[in-house]
Amino acid sequence: MTADASAHNISRIIQTICPFCGVGCGIGLRVEQEKITGVEPLASHPVSQGKLCAKGWSTAYAVDPIDRITTPLIRENGSFRPASWDEAYQVITEAFLAAAAEKGADAVGVIACARATNEDCYAAQKFARAVLGTNNIDHCARICHSPSVAGLRQTLGSGAMTNSIDDIEKADLIVIFGCDPTENHSVLGGRIIGAKMAGARLLVVDPRLTRLARMADLHLQLQLGTNIALINGLLQIIFANGWEATEFLSSRCENETALRAKVAEYPPERVAAITGVPEEKLIAAARMYAKAERALLTYGMGITQYTTGTNNVISISNLALVAGQIGREGTGINPLRGQNNVQGACDMGALPNVFPGYQEVAQQTNRDKFADHWQKKLPENKGLTSLGMTKGALSGEVRCMLIMGEDPVVTDPDQHHVQRALEALDLLVVIELVMTETAAMADVILPAAAFSEKAGTFTNCERRVQLIQPAIAAPGEAKPDWQILGELASRLGYHHMDWPNAEAIFNEIAALSPLYQGMSYPKLAENHGLQWPCNEQAPNGTPLLHRQQFSRGKGRLIPVSHADPAEVPDEAYPLFFTTTRLHYHYGCGSMTRKSPLLERETPSGILFINPADAQALAIKPQTKVRISSRRGEVETGAIITDEVPPGTVAMPYHFKEAPSNRLTNTAQDPVTKMPELKACAVRVTNLEVEHK
């Protein structure tokens, strides 16, 4: 018997992985009448253990058929018209070939996507390198954890979380540095709350009075952009008191003398003056961390999104190495990856400088290996980063771009600059689910299948590669990104991307990337995923890195110096400005804002300002304000809160109506080109006073 369409009629539950954030929770998608109507948390999942956050619970809305793009669209006379795949591919291949013929292969570029699968990202970088012949391939890890990859590779040899999420319950001290996992990685944040309830101590280092800071045993509320000074100060105290891990330092690390000399320049009184953290708190924190049995350190964008991003990460590494808080269970350096598959997108080599598995493009042997496998001569030229491509588009050097599922108009710094750059292109192709701000600027839009409509893998922040499963068919003509790229490759005369399914791509990844070598879909299915490296030596994966030795051999201590943010408050722009995230929203908001509940949770104004600053400007709750920087201005309402310290205002970056990235600075970390999204100078104007 079948029930009427209006009856509640569950037909199946498909177990897969949540599409929000790098925690990688297990989620069951409930399907009724071939629609996803709800989710079930999975008690057996090793990471989420039956829990989900507000975003995960709202997944059915995120992929709702409403507002989805269902056919290829071509811009004509200022608006979009539906087109056939043939016609869309024709337009794209002609423009890409023309640009390459005129200005060379590096006149085109590809932006992959940290929300897409490993298979999609692998296809994107293969498409760039083997089909387009350029290393112009990047994705939004550039603006989240590129400094982690670069910094930790120098010091440890591997740029990923050293430990596992399970280690949270094994630590007796948890250090939360420049992030609020209860907002952005809520299920992981919840596990930190659980550990705290069970007796672990919390040390929070953050300019903001976050939820975990309120629960912490000790909160170091440092001034924006003073991470290195603070850590050098902690190291100075540790060395001065003989609290360092002597045996660990001598047997496992190198370059101690140079580090000692550098941090000697940072006595507590100087550090207190730079950071604003009282000396006694610095000493207490140094003692807590160095003397803990097992101290697990976790960090986020408050470390990476600075012009000193790579050096900030190196500082974190120095601290963990000197205290010997790494290489054991319940310890480690644990960067919290922002997007569901940003770890995987990096692992796949959707970066200009590395092939899959972090194999350097600059090395001839690597190029030969991939050229041999891909049957194509590969480019040697250094590729452009995402911001490099934006700049290249403005200067005319880059003529065509293909952007897969990212929305740089909302998420990248200096929005006006990004828009001008994308406008300047001969052709912009966007592969998307819905009409994002970036898609709205495209010449051709190709409809993509959502995570719930395709097979593949996501790699979470603890390096766990997990299978996702299709729950329903993609709407209209939408298809997986890898398939679109494979078809485009065929049109361009390259036939080694015509995979029959996602599993075939994964097998190619495993064959070429030593980190994934021992993995296959059946093995991933059996184990709730596997953590890389997974190979003959570690057939069941590796929950804990650097146990006996570091990936690079010895852990390298690298002295680094404090430097101010590129822009600091002055008379014209007297307040520090920083960017944040809200629990209810994710990235550019293109998925979470489809939920009526999450959308309702969006505050009507989004400038967070301290009561002292608000008073000085006669700002009341929800007073209309204008925030201006040297790049642009935004109008919104004010939220008065002690969450931000006096002198610093903050805005979340999810909202296109009040884009914080109209204000942010494009000043960049010299190593990774990470823009300084966490600090710039602004002026706040009370518009209601002005109107009177």
Binding site: A3, T37, P41, A43, L52, W57
Partner: protein, 337 residues
């Protein structure tokens, strides 16, 4: 109320499934997750015999996560009342049945709920062992099915089943099974057995003390604030709570008009009670957490519904990322003073 003897529970289930759509908690292939699913062929009844709760209670069969209330095409309004085919929920535990009875009262005037509810027959099952985290005896919601809560009740007695019909509709379903009437006294034997099962549950003294303190308003505001700090506003507790019934509605644009959808809401969300002016009577997370537990354990609601708003299933404890599910909260409340 009549009692019959049943050798195998699968026989009853398959007999019922031949008459109406039947949903029952089942394990997905290779998984330990127990979900409400349509009966598929050859589904073993392993889940029935163990004291296991499905991830969700049965509430979404009557009060779905999302439903269209009406449509407007630019000229006319179109009614969208559901017209469900008859269905059976098989193997509903006593805690979830008590919650259905609770929601039957709450949604008494709601035609959408009632249309689905009236098309549904409930087959309950007595729990013979405590489930993990469950405390139904403390809130008079189990472990055995209460009178009048189901159409049929399955009760394991030795190697066989006692099948009790509680309604005439339930009994009519048994036509053709040729069941023997159970021996006289088997129902009273069942009644005598319940306290023995209840006695196997771990101590719920913290729940009892907590209920008293909530009702005597002895919980200090600081404790609510501390627990509010741990609320991540995920909505998990209210989604999985079998008695939670809050919803909101919104208009979705469709071709030439819109449709009004209602969807589950959560009183733990910041903007749940935010007014158009921006004023929010429960702006602090601690106030929202307090309100939630007041709704679950206040004598005020007991008067209206004849029971507490908590049926002791323990799902909130399992799904709360912030460690403020029912046991965590009640332990902290009972530890004060």
């Amino acid at each position: 109320m009549r009692a019959f003897l049943l050798d195998q529970i699968d026989r009853l289930r398959d007999h019922l499934a031949a008459q109406r759509s039947l949903f029952t908690p089942q394990f997905a292939a290779g998984s330990s997750e127990l979900s409400w699913l349509p009966l598929s062929h050859n589904t073993p009844s392993a889940a029935i015999e163990r004291p296991l709760l499905a991830t969700y209670p049965a509430k979404q069969f009557f009060f779905p996560d999302r439903e269209i209330l009406f449509q407007f095409d630019g000229a006319d309004f179109k009614e969208t009342l559901p017209k469900p085919a008859p269905q059976i929920l098989f193997g509903v535990r006593s805690c979830d049945l008590c919650a259905i009875a609770y929601q039957d009262q709450f949604f008494q005037q709601d035609p959408y709920y009632q249309a689905r509810r009236k098309a549904t027959l409930l087959v309950g099952i007595d729990c013979q062992l405590p489930c993990e985290g469950g405390f139904c005896p403390t809130v008079d919601a189990g472990p055995f099915v209460r009178d009048g809560m189901a159409d049929l009740v399955c009760h394991q007695q030795g190697g066989r089943w006692l099948l009790i019909s509680q309604t005439s509709e339930g009994e009519a379903l048994l036509d053709g099974l040729n069941l023997k009437a159970a021996a006289e006294g088997s129902i009273s034997q069942r009644s005598r057995q319940e306290p023995q099962v209840a006695a196997q549950f771990p101590s719920a003294a913290h729940i009892e003390t907590g209920i008293q303190r909530i009702n005597q308003t002895q919980v200090p505001a600081e404790l609510w604030q501390a627990m509010g700090l741990q609320c991540l506003s995920c909505s998990g507790c209210t989604n999985l709570c079998p008695t939670c019934s809050c919803f909101t509605s919104y208009d979705r644009p469709v071709d030439n008009g819109f449709e009004r959808e209602r969807c589950w809401d959560s009183c733990l969300y910041d903007a749940f009670q935010r007014e158009a002016s921006g004023h929010n009577p429960s702006a602090a997370a601690g106030q929202r957490v307090e309100r939630f537990w007041f709704h679950k354990f206040s004598d005020e609601y007991f008067k209206t519904f004849g029971r507490y708003g908590c049926t002791g299933c323990g799902r909130c404890e399992k799904t709360c990322p912030g460690v403020i599910g029912v046991h965590s909260v009640m332990k902290r409340i009972s530890a004060i003073l």
